[in-house]
């Protein structure tokens, strides 16, 4: 696959960003960009890039504060995302009642606007006491291999 890879992260405490950096390092031989959701312009979504979205959960299944502006922009600007492909990795903590729902808000919205999710939906559970980094890196490799 020759498309540029955009790793889009939504974070609250920096963990998603931390993992995104490791994901980028893993595939450094390709054209990769790591972008904070708070800095991303929804008009920039393009079928020429492949989006690897990594997003955490805040509180009881909510988006992290880093993901809120993106959801708001997608909702208000309503871009046509037909032809755009993305993969999804969600961070969560099973000690909370609503496990790992944060990323699903973005996933649902992207799908509504016509984007297509490919590859497995990656998940990491912080309650294991491990960091999401290696799970996210392994998932990145698996997803790219499957394309």
């Amino acid at each position: 696959m020759n498309r540029k890879i955009v790793i889009l992260f939504g974070t609250e405490s920096g963990n998603a960003e931390f993992a995104a950096e490791d994901m980028a390092a893993e595939i450094a031989d390709r054209e990769v960009e790591v972008v904070d959701m708070t800095d991303f312009d929804v008009e920039d979504f393009s079928p020429e890039s492949f989006y690897m979205v990594i997003c955490s959960t805040h509180g009881e299944g909510d988006l992290p504060s880093g993901g809120v502006p993106l959801l708001q922009a997608l909702t208000s600007q309503n871009p046509d995302l037909n032809g755009v492909e993305y993969a999804m990795f969600g961070l969560g903590d099973s000690s909370y009642e609503n496990y790992s729902k944060g990323s699903e808000h973005i996933d649902q919205k992207l799908a509504e606007l016509g984007a297509k999710r490919v590859g497995e939906y990656g998940r990491h559970d912080a309650h294991t006491g491990t960091l999401p980094n290696s799970a996210a890196v392994d998932w990145t490799n698996r997803v790219l291999e499957s394309l």
Binding site: S13, G14, G59, E60, P64, S95, Y96, A126, G129
Partner: protein
């Protein structure tokens, strides 16, 4: 970022707000000297000594911060205390920018008669004990079969949960056996969480209340009244408490009682704590709870012995909304904005202050180059 300009930074305090500041500054200044100082020999402040030991997901954030030292060239020097090992003046001379991320380490005192009776402890002290802080001594602490926790924010809920989790579980989370046996003994039968806020305005996060449901050997009760016509958050809090109570184990022989809308007025006892009185919001009713142990969890303030006082560092140019104290001196985190907000809030705070630092340095740099172009 700006060529040939690598200002040097000193960050005093290596808790989350200090570490996030280091992250943001390092990104903007890849080649700068960034040095973090801490009073303690090890970094991470409240992440290490304030986050509850069973909140492993939160504790894991330290790995992000470890990268600062391991890979990003940020220096750390522990055992450095302003007023003891160095002075603020010395730091300001040695570094272009000094950022104070020293937090608020003293428990807000109860300030009611009897507050100093043996048996009254600050939440900071108890949390530090759970986390093995070097300055805390278990010898001064004992917990009876009843515990009253004054406050109903997240810290208060943490203490209730940890006190009831049981020694065995706590040891699994790394708490020292002696500490667990003292602070989370099976002898503890009754916990009262008493806050001056009504349930809708209580400062706990709903997730913290839901988490209490995992205490299967505990029955939950509350005097909460459903808020009327309030914001959705207020209703969510009421729902969380109600659900906890509704699904309570009625056979349990340990009880947690939530009391909302009560302000402490007096602690009494002959030598040791025996009871604590509270007054209702309208002042007409009194609540008396017999207890041997009281934890106060009503916030944090600057340490009374602290050499570094925010107020004494403020000048006419100070703007606390950006963290700017005076030329080359900034504040971040709880030290800047007060003892509210958990780790994510401190990340946002660090971003805000770092942005200001970067902007101020840019202004300085362009003024400097403006002069040389004349």
């Amino acid at each position: 970022m700006f060529s040939d300009y690598s200002p040097s930074f000193a960050i005093v305090g290596s808790g989350p707000s200090g570490c996030y500041t280091a992250q943001f500054l390092r990104r903007a200044f890849p080649d700068s000297l960034i040095k973090m100082f801490d009073r303690l020999p090890v970094p991470f402040g409240l992440l290490r000594y304030g986050v509850a030991p069973d909140h492993v997901g939160t504790k894991a954030i330290s790995s992000q911060f470890e990268r600062l030292f391991e890979r990003d060239g940020v220096k750390f020097e522990g055992g450095i205390e302003i007023g003891v090992s160095t002075s603020l003046e010395e730091l300001r001379q040695e570094f272009d920018v000094v950022v104070l991320a020293i937090g608020l380490s003293q428990d807000r005192p109860l300030s009611i008669p009897g507050w100093a009776l043996p048996g009254v402890y600050g939440s900071g002290q108890i949390t530090r004990l759970f986390n093995g802080h070097p300055d805390e001594d278990l010898e001064c602490v004992s917990v009876g079969d009843r515990l009253v926790i004054v406050g109903n924010g997240n810290v208060a809920i943490d203490l209730a949960r940890l006190s009831l989790l049981g020694s065995e579980k706590l040891v699994e989370f790394g708490v020292e056996a002696e500490v667990s046996n003292t602070l989370s003994s099976q002898d503890l039968r009754q916990v009262h969480l008493v806050g001056r806020s009504l349930v809708g305005a209580a400062k706990f996060d709903v997730a913290m209340i839901n988490e209490l449901a995992k205490l299967h050997d505990v029955r939950f009760r509350s005097d909460a009244v459903e808020p009327i016509n309030e914001n959705p958050e207020a209703h969510k809090r009421y729902e969380a408490i109600s659900k906890l109570v509704r699904e309570s184990n009625l056979e349990a022989n340990r009880v947690v009682n939530f009391h909302f809308g009560w302000t402490p007025s007096l602690i009494g006892g002959d030598g040791d704590v025996e009871f604590i009185d509270f007054a209702s919001q309208d002042g007409l009713e009194k609540l008396t709870i017999a207890t041997q142990t009281i934890f106060s969890a009503i916030g944090f303030v600057e340490h009374e012995d602290s050499v570094v006082r925010r107020e004494s560092l403020m000048t006419d140019e100070t703007d606390l909304t950006t963290g700017f104290l005076s030329d080359g001196l900034y504040c971040v985190g709880w030290f800047r904005r007060g003892p509210q907000g958990t780790i994510p809030a401190n990340r946002s705070d660090a971003k805000l202050v770092s942005d200001q630092i970067i902007m101020d340095l840019k202004t300085k740099a362009s003024k400097r180059s403006g002069r040389t172009n004349e």
